[in-house]
C-alpha cells in the first residue's frame, strides 16, 4: 500500500507553492511565482495571481508526486506571517480542499517551516538557526518544556537583510531578487568603509542601507555592492556566532530566501567550523518560499495527532515565530 501523503500550501508573499510530503520525504514542490516588476509587490494583484494559479499548481504537484487527491490525508497551509491578501488565498484553497475531501486542516507558521524543512531533511536534533529572508532576519533555537517553540535570540531591529539588499538594488537601478543582483554586482569589488552595527545578538540594517545608497555617488556600483554585502553578512555571522556560544548548540542551520547567497553560506560555514559545529543549508528550492516546507511541518503535526479547531484555522499577518508551538 502506498503511504498516505500530506499537502502544504504556501502563499505568504509572491510565491505560490504547493508541496507534498510522504513520511518526511518530499514528493513534490511545485511553484508559481508572481513576477516582481520595479513596482514591487502589489498585494491585491499577487492575491489574484495566486487565485488564478492555485488549481494548476495543485495538479502539477499531484502529478509530480504521482498520486491522486485520494492519497492525501491532511492539508497544511501558511497561517502567517505574510501579506494578508496572499495568505487568505492560500488559506481559502486549503479550506476548500479540506472540506471537499474531508481532510484535517493544519495552520503552519511560515518561519517555523523554513527551519523545520532543513531540520527534517538532515535529521538534525536541536539546531541554532539563522533565518534570513526579505522581511525576517532572526537567530533562533527551540526551547521550552512542555510548550516548545522557537525562541528568538537575536534579530534585526528594523528591516530584514533581504529587503535591505533589494532596496539597495532598486536605488542602483538593479533588479531586486533576494540580493542576487547585488551579489553579481559585487564580484571583484574593493572594500569601502561602511557602518557596522551589531548590538549583542541583534543588528540593524537601515543605517547601512542609507550609507550604501549615498556612497553610490562617490564609488563604483561594484565597490559599494561588495562592501554592502560583506558588511551585512559579517554582521549576521557575528551575531550568530555569539548566539552559538550562548546556547551551546552543536548544529547550525541557514535558511530563508537569502540563504541562497553563496557568500553568506561560505562565511557561516567558517563560523561553524571554528566551533566544530555541524552546518546545513538546504538546496535552493527549499530556501526560497515553497510549499514542501509547509507540508513537512503539517505532517509532523498530523503524525503527533494534533488537530486544530476550524475557528483557529485563520490567517495572521503578524504571526510571530515564537507564538507557534512546535512538535
Amino acid at each position: 500500500m502506498v503511504p498516505m501523503a500530506v499537502i502544504g500550501i504556501e502563499s505568504s508573499a509572491h510565491t505560490l507553492g504547493i508541496g507534498i510530503v510522504q513520511n518526511g520525504r518530499i514528493m513534490a514542490n511545485q511553484r508559481s511565482m508572481y513576477k516582481i516588476t520595479d513596482k514591487g509587490i502589489i498585494p491585491s494583484k499577487v492575491a489574484d495571481f495566486h487565485a488564478d494559479n492555485v488549481r494548476d499548481t495543485l495538479e502539477g504537484a499531484l502529478k509530480h508526486a504521482q498520486i491522486t487527491i485520494k492519497d492525501i490525508e491532511a492539508v497544511g497551509y501558511t497561517k502567517g506571517p505574510g501579506i494578508g491578501s496572499c495568505l487568505q488565498v492560500g488559506q481559502l484553497a486549503a479550506k476548500a480542499l479540506a472540506s471537499r475531501y474531508r481532510l484535517p486542516l493544519l495552520p503552519v507558521n511560515h518561519g517555523v517551516a523554513h527551519i523545520e524543512v532543513v531540520r527534517s531533511m538532515y535529521k538534525l536534533k536541536d539546531p541554532l538557526a539563522l533565518y534570513v529572508s526579505g522581511g525576517n532576519s532572526q537567530i533562533l533555537a527551540r526551547i521550552g518544556n512542555p510548550y516548545r517553540h522557537y525562541h528568538i535570540y537575536g534579530e534585526t531591529f528594523d528591516i530584514g537583510v533581504g529587503n535591505m539588499l533589494d532596496s539597495f538594488a532598486r536605488s542602483a537601478n538593479m533588479n531586486p531578487a533576494w540580493g542576487s543582483s547585488v551579489a553579481k554586482a559585487a564580484l571583484g569589488g574593493k572594500y569601502v568603509q561602511m557602518p557596522y552595527t551589531v548590538k549583542g545578538m541583534d543588528f540593524t540594517f537601515t543605517g547601512l542601507l542609507t550609507n550604501a545608497t549615498e556612497q553610490l555617488q562617490r564609488h563604483s556600483l561594484k565597490d559599494v555592492s561588495f562592501s554592502l554585502q560583506e558588511t551585512a553578512f559579517a554582521m549576521l555571522c557575528e551575531a550568530t556566532e555569539r548566539a552559538l556560544l550562548l546556547t551551546g548548540r552543536r548544529e547550525m542551520v541557514l535558511c530563508g530566501g537569502v540563504a541562497q547567497s553563496e557568500r553568506l553560506r561560505e562565511m557561516l560555514a567558517l563560523v561553524a567550523k571554528d566551533h566544530k559545529t555541524t552546518f546545513k543549508v538546504a538546496p535552493n528550492e527549499f530556501n526560497a518560499d515553497n510549499g514542501a516546507m509547509i507540508a513537512v511541518v503539517a505532517e509532523q503535526m498530523f503524525r503527533k495527532g494534533i488537530s486544530v479547531k476550524a475557528s483557529e484555522c485563520t490567517t495572521n499577518q503578524k504571526y510571530r515565530i515564537d507564538q507557534a508551538e512546535v512538535v
Binding site: 531591529f157 572594500y191 548590538k199 560583506e230 559579517a234 555569539r242 556560544l245 562565511m267 510571530r320
Partner: protein, 204 residues
Amino acid sequence: MKIKRISEGAEARIYSCNFLGFDSVIKRRIKKRYRLATIDEDIRVHRTKNEARILALVSSLGISSPGLLMVGKYDIYMHMINGTRLSEMLGSKTNLNRVFAQLGRYAAMLHNNNIVHGDYTPANVMVGKNGDVCLIDFGLSEMTNSMEERALDLLLMKRSVAGELFEGFLQGYRKECRDGGRVIERLGGIEKRGRYNTRSLITR
C-alpha cells in the same frame, strides 16, 4: 609573564595572568576568518580602543567596573573581578532586588554621561559575595546621546529577566536618569514596532 586561557567568547579570548603582582585578566580580540580582513582589522582595533577609553571613563564616574591596566592593539589588560555572573544567579533563590535597583542606577549614570553599554544583560554583570555589582564587557559600548540606543540598553535587560526584577531596575533608573522618562517612552515606542512583544527568555 604566564597567561592562562579562562574563557572564550564570540569575539575575544579571556586570559588570566599576574600583571606586576596583580591578579589580572587580558581580553584579546581574535581574528575572525569569516569576514573580510579589512573589516576584521577595523573592528578589532576600533573596539579595543573604544572599550579601553570607555572603561577608563566609566571607572572615573564611580561605576564599579574592571580597572584598566594597559592597552595593546587588540588586547586590554585589566584587574580581575571576583564574583558570580548575574546570569547564573537568575534561577537561584537569592534576592536580587537590590542588585537590579543598582543596575538601574548604573544604567542611568552611563546614560547621563552619554555612554550606552550596548550589551546590557545579566551575562555582563558580576555580583560579589557581599552583593556589590560590577559591570563588565564594554565591548559594544558607545559614546552617544541617542535616545534609541539608550532605550535599547533597557530593552536588552527587559528581555532577559523576569518582570518584577525589571520593575525594580526601572525604578532605580528613573530616579537617577535625567532623561529617564523620555528613554522609557522610547522603549515603549520600540516595542510597539511590533517585533518584540513576545520576546522574553521566560518560557510559557
